[in-house]
């Protein structure tokens, strides 16, 4: 048994030491302790025993990951690795901040997103994180519901258990959970890699958005006892999408899969199209043709562009639904802001997100003098350069306004990137 005692010291490869202060948690693989490193509180993941069939390779990889640093800020990445001592080893990472909860807590409805905007932020950040990880040539390998911590108020995401991230194509030797693995991994036809990660990521996105498992419908429910053998069929050789338009035999069951029944028609068609494409033949069986993270980001950005606050009741709804999903009133969209292929509704009360972060860059509001007169307020620190229909240039500084007027062209700069937007 390699459990560490309170007050025990472990040595880090950089010469520092970590002193165990408290046991924070215990998982199948190991323990997580609160430790002090150079007077700073950190977390230590300490393996119960070598977490892989080839521990030396695993250990070396862990050290390399720690040296290379996190691919994106969402990862609670290994920062230092311990010496191989006391029959095991571990790594040091940052403590999880307050306000973040396991994704499992959301799935069992103990935690809820405060609004759909926060939910979309979660989906977008998950894509951003794996885009960065894959861009570094790594694959995550064991992507499942247990990896994510989410802030229900903001939708910000933290990703833990990053010790299985290996160079794409190399196997970590770690087993994954069948419910979250790509079918070709479940059936043993393919090793986990960046393409199988993309499948698991899409599955997590489906769970975040529709709150039901995409491959657990009537057919899977029909097995009273889910054994290992059935799991290999339901998630591998006989996998069938819950919203497969051609074969409805694994469709959602009323009273059981209520979330997806309600949300599938409510969220925009672009999302439905993307999931049907990913989760049915022939793409389901073609790992290399799966959507890239950038394609997912474009789809999710379009979904966020579609989300507005109803000008009548103030609740969130999708413009594409025409009628407010809360109060039922018809929402008139007279003008839109067009950025390349994107269209953002210029309706009263709408927040406009131009880049992919969750800070609104502009907002639409009516004037005190005329409730029918809409204006756009600049919420960015940078100014907006506006070209009028007569070709004049006017500058709109932070917190200043421009009118919602057909033909105005806006130049915005966000983090060094220039966007050209036009009011239509």
């Amino acid at each position: 048994m390699s459990e560490l005692k309170i007050g025990a010291t472990v040595h880090l490869t950089n010469g520092m030491t970590a002193t165990v202060k408290k046991l924070l948690g215990e998982g199948g693989q190991g323990y997580v302790y609160l430790v002090s490193v150079n007077g700073k509180d950190m977390a230590l993941k300490w393996y119960k025993s070598a977490p892989s069939s080839s521990p030396d390779k695993f250990y070396k990889n862990l050290r390399k990951n720690a040296d290379d640093g996190a691919p994106a800020p969402m990862f609670i990445w290994p920062e230092y690795v311990t010496q191989y001592e006391q029959g095991s080893f571990g790594y040091i990472m940052k403590l999880r901040p307050e306000g973040y909860y396991e994704f499992g807590q959301f799935l069992i409805a103990r935690q809820r997103f405060v609004n759909v905007g926060a939910l979309l932020t979660t989906a977008i950040e998950i894509c951003e994180a794996y885009k960065a990880l894959h861009a570094k040539g790594l694959s995550y390998q064991d992507l499942n519901d247990g990896n994510f911590f989410i802030n229900p108020k903001t939708g910000h995401v933290l990703i833990c258990d990053n010790d299985n991230a290996f160079p794409n194509g190399e196997k970590s030797g770690i087993l994954g959970k069948a419910r979250y693995m790509a079918p070709e991994v479940v059936t043993g036809q393919r090793m986990p890699d960046a393409y199988t990660d993309k499948f698991s990521m899409s599955l997590i996105l489906f769970l975040v958005i529709y709150m039901n498992h995409p491959f657990e419908g009537a057919k899977v429910l029909g097995h009273p006892c889910m054994t290992e053998e059935w799991e290999r069929k339901c998630y591998g050789s006989e996998i069938l999408f819950i919203a497969n338009p051609q074969d409805k035999s694994n469709g959602p069951v009323k009273g059981v899969h209520n979330n997806v029944i309600a949300r599938w028609p409510a969220f925009p068609a672009a999302l439905r199209d993307a999931f049907v494409r990913e989760f049915t033949a022939p793409i389901l069986q073609s790992p290399t043709k799966r959507l890239t993270e950038q394609q997912w980001l474009d789809i999710l950005t379009a979904v966020r562009d579609d989300l507005i606050r109803c000008p009548y009741c103030g609740k969130e709804t999708f413009v594409s639904q025409t009628k407010c999903m809360e109060c039922g009133k018809t929402i008139q969209v007279n003008n839109v802001l067009v950025i390349d292929k994107r269209k953002l509704a210029l309706t009263d009360g709408n927040m406009l997100f131009i880049d992919r972060d969750d800070t609104p860059d502009m907002r639409v509001v009516h004037t005190a003098q005329n409730p029918n007169m809409l204006v756009i307020q600049n919420l960015m620190s940078n100014e907006i350069e506006v070209q009028t229909t007569q070709g004049q240039i006017r500058i709109v500084k932070t917190n200043e306004y421009l009118p919602v007027k057909l033909g105005l062209q806006l130049k915005l700069k966000i983090r060094g990137y220039q966007y050209i937007a036009k009011i239509q």
């Binding site: 048994m1 215990e26 998982g27 199948g28 119960k48 025993s49 396991e102 994704f103 499992g104 807590q105 799935l107 069992i108 409805a109 103990r110 809820r112 997103f113 609004n115 759909v116 390998q141 519901d145 247990g146 196997k171 087993l175 994954g176 959970k177 069948a178 419910r179 979250y180 991994v185 479940v186 043993g188 090793m191 986990p192 709150m211 039901n212 498992h213 899977v220 429910l221 097995h223 009273p224 006892c225 889910m226 054994t227 290992e228 799991e231 290999r232 998630y235 591998g236 059981v256 899969h257 209520n258 979330n259 309600a262 949300r263 409510a266 609740k315 969130e316 709804t317 999903m325 809360e326």
Partner: protein, 250 residues
């Protein structure tokens, strides 16, 4: 409708069956240790259940001595499960316990009624002696039960008088029988077995990459228990006894 209306995802149920011998020979510190260990492990099971989106863990507990009794007449989540202090007395009707377990391992008239389905259950048997009734007859009935066949099975043999062969017949495998020889070890082993089998049993099964033969949940449980109890004093996993099943006509 509201875009934010949401309910918990349907979770399968994983029922953890605790079958505890409370016959006369368990009197004294043994039964005290069992009472203490089970009470202490319940909050840990509750924690495992709380953030687990794969399955909801429920507990069903039976005591057996002269006859057998369910602690509650339905499986309950750990938070709602109070373990009443058991007192020891009577003989060891393990055969009857097997028959009663088989009765409850049923979707139509037993405990496995979850509307969103179940994972294979975990069966943990604790005993310090040998059966005094028709064990083989009871076990034969149990062995025909499909839930039993799919279950993760672990037995804890308390003290030197436990009938290892009987326990190995119950689990189907001597590697799943753990012997403990003192009261402190017993507490530690109960915690380890309950926690580990709950963790393994309540999650989607592991899949091995690259076409290797997938590990079963039973193998995974055995391996994880063995790792944690490695080198522990007064604990022995399996036995040197021959791993053969003999027919009953000798």
């Amino acid at each position: 409708m509201s875009l934010l209306d949401v309910e918990a995802v349907p979770r399968r149920t994983m029922t953890l069956f605790l079958l505890a011998d409370v016959s006369g020979s368990m009197r004294g510190s043994k039964i005290g240790a069992v009472n203490d260990a089970i009470r202490n492990v319940l909050p840990i099971v509750n924690d495992i259940n709380d953030s687990n989106a794969d399955a909801e863990i429920k507990i069903a507990a039976m005591t057996f001595s002269s006859g057998c009794n369910w602690v509650y007449n339905e499986p309950k989540i750990a938070a709602d499960f109070d373990w009443p202090d058991q007192t020891a007395g009577g003989v060891t009707d393990l055969g009857e316990a097997c028959v009663e377990l088989a009765n409850k391992l049923s979707k139509s008239h037993g405990f496995m009624t979850s509307g969103s389905g179940s994972f294979a259950p975990v069966l943990i048997l604790l005993s310090d002696g040998g059966p005094t009734d028709d064990f083989n007859g009871g076990l034969d009935k149990l062995k025909q039960n499909n839930w039993y066949k799919a279950a993760i099975k672990v037995a804890i043999a308390i003290g030197d008088d436990a009938d290892l062969e009987v326990l190995a017949k119950f689990t189907g495998n001597i590697e799943s029988v753990i012997q403990v020889h003192d009261v402190e070890s017993l507490k530690k082993v109960i915690r380890c077995v309950v926690v580990t089998s709950s963790q393994v049993g309540s999650k989607s099964s592991s899949t091995t990459a690259g076409g290797a033969e997938p590990a079963t949940k039973q193998d995974e449980t055995n391996k994880a228990i063995a790792q944690q109890l490695q080198g522990a004093d007064n604990v022995q996993i399996g036995t040197e006894a021959a791993n053969v099943s003999m027919d009953d006509n000798w």
